[in-house]
């Protein structure tokens, strides 16, 4: 039998490594496809988050628009209003006078009439806490949802 000229160690060695390379190529193809064809996996949470952010921006814009005056400028007027105290109220003047100083330091969102419009515009903001007692209630707490009753 004539010698087999195709059978050389180099050819064998070559074939071995080409075979291995082929395996690796298949794996790399799968890896690339997963990662690069469509990068972002759909995240419904994120999209709902976008919707919430849009709403939040709307609410803040509405609140800002409703705030026609600078709150600090009406403090004096508010104090006078409180000191005046309506005649029908059972609260006696000395108590009203006691309450007045406590009202001063709190810079909180005063429940002045103009501000009440804002919650009505923004559907997701709870309107509940709006008109009630100002001072002792925690100023900046957004936790107002439950009725005090």
């Amino acid at each position: 039998m004539e010698p087999n000229l195709r059978d050389t160690p180099l050819r064998r060695f070559n074939t071995f490594w080409w075979g291995l390379a082929l395996f690796v190529v298949f794996g790399i193809a799968c890896f690339f496809l997963r990662t690069f064809v469509n990068d972002e996996m759909t995240d419904v949470d994120k999209e709902r988050g976008q919707e919430r952010l849009v709403k939040k921006d709307k609410v803040e814009a509405a609140q800002a628009a409703a705030l026609k005056v600078d709150p600090t400028s009406v403090f004096d007027k508010l104090q006078n209003t409180l000191n005046a105290a309506p005649a029908a109220s059972a609260v006696a003047s000395p108590e009203a006078a006691e309450m007045a100083p406590a009202a001063e330091p709190t810079p909180a969102p005063a429940p002045a009439a103009p501000v009440e419009e804002a919650p009505a515009e923004a559907p997701t903001v709870t309107p509940a806490p709006a008109p009630v007692t100002p001072a002792p209630a925690a100023p900046a707490e957004p936790v107002a949802p439950t009725n005090p009753e």
Binding site: R34, V37, N38, M41, T42, V44, E47, R48
Partner: protein, 254 residues
């Protein structure tokens, strides 16, 4: 045919279907657009986000590992492929008390939260896509009947009420006893891997499926996970109208 031609031919004849049928769909399904509500049909807008509860991830894995998917499917096929949607309780209920007609075909988001969609291999046992909902309906019917029988308010049944979790545990532990009691046939095997034996300490556990001679059989973590998965298999919630098979628009999205 030369070897070179052979390899080119092989790469083309395999590579093209591999790309078209497997690789590209796999990659593009990762970033499918989320379905949206339609203002005109759903009376609201926004992205539809399906909500699920229960131990979906772990439960789904255990469901697969135990081979439940061999005998149970979780898919409601469109009418070109089968009559599934007409089977009461499989794809939803025709006359759900609250939501009207909730029947629909399976959608890609029905398997959210699971790594691998347990479509299933065969229907040796029933389809489980809405198993949790069917249990709820069954429990409600049972409670109503019990309330009438005992003359109690349905909310005040207490220990007489249908205990869904215990019912599922009992079925998993020994479906045959359950079947005999209710004159039903079943070929579900006993899944004792979900339970451990423990000595009774003080009072018997609420969820003991059997108590013999001071030893009670209680579900272990695996059992709890699969039970949680099973009772939360519900696919009849609100979806955009475009996906609802026979939704009564007047009932609205309650």
């Amino acid at each position: 045919m030369t070897v070179k031609t052979f390899f080119y031919g092989l790469i083309a004849s395999f590579g093209i279907p591999w790309l078209i049928m497997l690789a590209v769909p796999f990659a593009s399904m990762r970033s499918q657009e989320a379905p949206q509500f339609d203002e005109s049909k759903d009376e609201k807008t926004g992205v539809f986000q399906p909500m699920y509860s229960g131990r979906r991830g772990t439960g789904s894995l255990i469901y697969r590992q135990e081979g439940c998917a061999v005998c149970h499917t979780q898919v409601t096929r469109p009418t070109y492929a089968g009559n599934d949607v007409f089977r009461e309780g499989q794809g939803g209920f025709a006359k759900d008390e609250v939501r009207g007609d909730t029947r629909r075909i399976s959608m890609p988001f029905d398997y959210n939260g699971e790594d691998y969609a347990n479509i299933g291999e065969s229907r040796i046992g029933p389809d489980l896509g809405n198993y949790g909902r069917r249990l709820e309906v069954k429990a409600a019917a049972y409670n109503k009947a019990k309330a009438e029988e005992l003359g109690l308010d349905i909310d005040k049944l207490g220990e007489h009420a249908f205990n869904i979790e215990l019912a599922v545990y009992r079925h998993l532990f020994d479906p045959q006893i359950n079947a005999k009691k209710h004159m039903l046939k079943t070929n579900c095997p006993s899944n004792s891997r979900f339970f451990d034996e423990a000595g009774v300490m003080g009072q018997e556990s609420d969820l003991a499926v059997a108590v013999v001679d001071g030893v009670e059989v209680v579900p272990n973590d695996r059992g709890r996970a699969i039970m949680s998965y099973l009772i939360n298999l519900k696919r009849d919630g609100e979806v955009p109208a475009s996906m609802q098979y026979g939704r009564d628009k007047e009932k609205g999205s309650k």
